[in-house]
Amino acid sequence: MKTKQQLEQQVEAALQALDGAEKAMPNPFLLTRIQGRLYAKQESIWDKCLYFISRPGIAIVVVGIVISLNVFVVANGTKAEDALTEEVQNGFAAEEEDIAANTLILDNENIEP
């Protein structure tokens, strides 16, 4: 069993254990490794882009967007076509009414006294 004094001495000794510690030396090939990693980063930007695009999740999302755009364009195109047809038909109807009215006027003029 340690006495309180022994314990305090041990704690104080441990607190001073780092005093005078020498510097640890880093890996001698640190610079080479850093340069290697920097080079790999520069090289792999396009690789990363290709990898990103070819990921199944991204590919599915892109295909989904393309299909949605197609559906949107086709649906809008059909609506526009319907509107055009209706307009043309309305135009024909108006023309027919005009012709009918003109014919009546002509007929009134041709009535014999």
């Binding site: 441990a14 607190l15 254990a17 510097k23 640890a24 030396m25 850093i34 920097l38």
Partner: protein, 191 residues
């Protein structure tokens, strides 16, 4: 070559200047990181990341602080990121241990053996590093920079961007917490 010239050359992506920077600061960055993460392989990896970040963001360095201060800040940020990640993994391992899904995973950290400590102090240093591992981040940073990196309170304050009084308070609190942890450690350890 003075610091301003070195920074200008680094901003021009000069390879020789970058080599000089690594030569001049690798030991400093490595030791600061090693003191915080307590693992030589991880410290080596983080040191590489620090210099890669310097290479990529030297353009944004305005020279308002010393280059060494900036390097310390990057090293500390990266070390803390690693420690946060490690603690998350530790918590997950602990939960796995409780649920019985992972019996082999150990969540007790291995004792760290700093290569710069003299033989007679190895055991005490191990106990101290284990206790430092339990300190809150700010106390741990202040204590490591002051004790292991031998930075003055003023320099620690510049790195941590706090006042000198705050640094003194952090170191005092760190010592108090370390005393408590070490006392418990030695009470339960027969050596």
């Amino acid at each position: 070559m003075n610091q301003t010239e070195l920074i200008v050359l680094l901003q021009q992506a000069d390879d020789t200047a970058f080599k000089k920077l690594v030569d001049a600061y690798e030991t400093m960055v490595y030791n600061a990181t090693l003191g915080l993460v307590q693992n030589e392989t991880i410290a080596d990896d983080i040191t590489q990341e620090v210099f890669i970040q310097v290479h990529q963001s030297i353009g944004s360095f305005k020279g308002e602080s010393k280059l060494s201060t900036w390097l310390y800040r990057i090293a500390i940020t990266k070390s803390l990121d690693y420690l946060k990640h490690k603690n998350r993994k530790k918590r997950f391992a602990f939960i796995q241990h409780l649920t019985g899904s992972n019996h082999e995973e150990s969540f007790h950290p291995p004792e760290f053996n700093h290569p710069g400590i003299v033989m007679e102090q190895k055991e005490n240093a191990k106990a101290l590093f284990t206790a430092m591992d339990r300190l809150p981040d700010s106390q741990r940073i202040a204590f490591t920079l002051h004790k292991l990196e031998a930075l003055k309170h003023q320099e620690v304050a510049e790195v941590m961007q706090v006042s000198v009084q705050a640094v003194e308070s952090l170191i005092a609190r760190a010592k108090g917490n370390l005393r408590k942890t070490l006392q418990f450690y030695f009470e339960n350890n027969n050596t």
